[in-house]
Amino acid sequence: MRHQNRIILSALFVVIGVLPFVFTSSYHISVMIFIGIHAMLAIGLCLLMGYAGQVSLGHAAFFGLGAYASGILTASYHVDPWLAMGLAAIFTGLVAFIIGKPLFRLKGNNLAMGTLGFGIIVYIMLVEMTDLTGGPSGLRGVPSLSIFGFTFDKDIKYFYLVWALALLFLILSLNIVNSRVGRALRSIHGSEIAAEMLGVDTNKYKIQILIVSAVYASVAGSLYAHYVTFLSPPPFGFKLSIEVLVMVVIGGLSSVYGAIFGAAATTLLSETLRGTVPKLLSGAGGEYEIVVFGVILMVVMIFMPTGLTSGTLNLVRRWRQEKALRVETREAEDGNAVTGVPRVPEGRTAIEDN
């Protein structure tokens, strides 16, 4: 497993390393930067949703908190951008910790509603706290990042910065997933009561992973702020939360690599739609994207609840198994034996009984 990881990771490093030499236009590089930023969001949500099984419809809020914390600290208070990024991450992590306790008293759909509410609250605060955030007219003058006199002024430099961090998050996440904590998270997803009865402090792990995903989103937000150098609330609204959800779902809920794939697919699709929909439907704005994402989400959740990539793999596996089973039963029938037939318990079953 570990060995396999290393191979995939090396391949990913190489591919991402050469991409800017293949797609050299500034448009392409900027799209790839956004993919990297989205990937950080998706990796975090993947840990929370795919592994721990806790839905979040408010992930854009953490992204917004990170972006605005960085933006305000650097533009209004002239704090060093790297320090600001760290402070933003601490602040966002703290917010996650504080809301985590009451939030995780909720389960399933109620939790989804709770996180949705959190996302809306943060969005409205970004709009209304005009003294701090500049409100709807935005926050200007967020500086570019630089380190030891090396400024990330060119897109290509920024591309490598963003992806270096995205890959760092990927590696940290893979390590978490393959550790005792990752197993605990998946056990919560599998059966919360059984997890508790095996000594897993389910609440603690849910909050911990919420903090991790919030910090990832915060750093992504800071990078976004320093890249576009202008912040206004709309990019941090409900639509982004849904987009991140779609990224994770497309990527296959419990695959950290899949989250990167999902981020790429969703961002590219979003870019394509933005270009083509107004051409096909005169008068249609960019908001038609959300319709398409809604449909994708519905179709994937109905037909492949484990996500698009692992769903496809499962279909292939099931098809193979069925084929093997058909062969087996045919052989069994030929031999007039009844081995391999699953025994159905008679009378009442323990599963139905409570």
Binding site: R180, G182, S191, I193, A194, M197, L198, V200, V212, A350
Partner: protein, 269 residues
């Protein structure tokens, strides 16, 4: 097979009980599910709680394991009061359980299920896990081998790498057992372990329960299979409508008129 038919209550009062539940009461809304029920399990004992459907047996398990808070009463385990603890803390103290309606982690492999059982016997946290420190990796190995040992005990080693959801029903029961044992419990709660098992599987289960007991684990059992209960239990408590109606050795219980009436139910009225 029965260890002793002498007065058990006197001995538990002397403090020899591993689990000591005193006057448990649980109300759900207006319904009293368990009513002033006292029982105890001594080290090395196999104790059964039986009773008709809805007698409150599973509720007793949920009270002992902290899933439901008590309405009244006290639970002591190994001399410590545990009734205010959370389920994961009670698991850490050394109580494990299996479930009447299986609670397998279907999203994990067979061996991973058992590895979760090692959770409270290991300690790598999120930071050392994220950094994949050497301590994390060596602990992972120990967890894995301990889990494989448990699988060996229940005979599921060959299935270790398969998804747990792919196991047949009987094997899933064994998997829950292995997972519970991985926690190194002093007391194991088995909630209808024989439900849905074929008679051969039940006989294997019986042997397994003896082996677990011989390994120093006390067992509290809720079971409908009377042949199994009467065969292996050292002491039996009978619940009806949440109240204790009889307690004694299997032989006493089988001859008890109240118990017979409770099981036959309405037909005697």
């Amino acid at each position: 097979m029965a260890v002793s038919t002498t007065d058990m209550d006197r001995e538990t009062e002397a403090g020899s009980a591993l689990l000591d539940a005193r006057s448990l009461r649980k109300d759900f809304g207006g319904i009293v599910a368990v009513d002033s029920f006292s029982f105890s399990v001594r080290p090395g004992q196999i104790v059964a709680i039986i009773g008709p459907n809805g007698a409150g047996k599973t509720t007793v398990f949920n009270l002992v394991t902290g899933v439901h808070p008590l309405t009244a009463g006290e639970i002591h385990f190994g001399g410590q009061r545990i009734d205010a603890l959370k389920p994961y803390q009670i698991a850490e103290k050394g109580i494990s359980r299996t479930f009447q309606n299986l609670q397998i982690f279907g999203n994990m492999t067979v061996v991973e299920n058992v590895m979760v059982g090692r959770h409270s016997r290991s300690k790598v946290g999120i930071l050392s896990g994220a950094l994949s420190l050497p301590s994390s990796r060596s602990e992972e190995k120990r967890i894995y081998y301990a889990a494989m040992e448990m699988l060996d005990m229940v005979g599921l080693v060959s299935r270790a790498k398969q998804p747990a959801s792919a196991l047949p029903f009987g094997s899933q029961r064994l998997l829950e057992l292995a997972r519970a044992l991985a926690n190194e419990p002093k007391l194991l709660l088995l909630d209808e372990p024989a439900a849905g098992l074929a008679s051969q599987e039940t006989r294997n289960l019986e042997r397994l329960i003896y082996r677990i007991r011989d390994g120093g684990v006390s067992i509290l059992l809720v079971e409908h299979d009377m042949e199994l209960v009467m065969g292996i239990a050292d002491w039996v408590f009978v619940l009806d409508y949440g109240k204790l109606i009889a307690a004694g050795t299997p032989r006493d219980i089988q001859a008890n008129e109240k118990v017979i009436a409770a099981y036959l139910g309405d037909e005697t009225d």
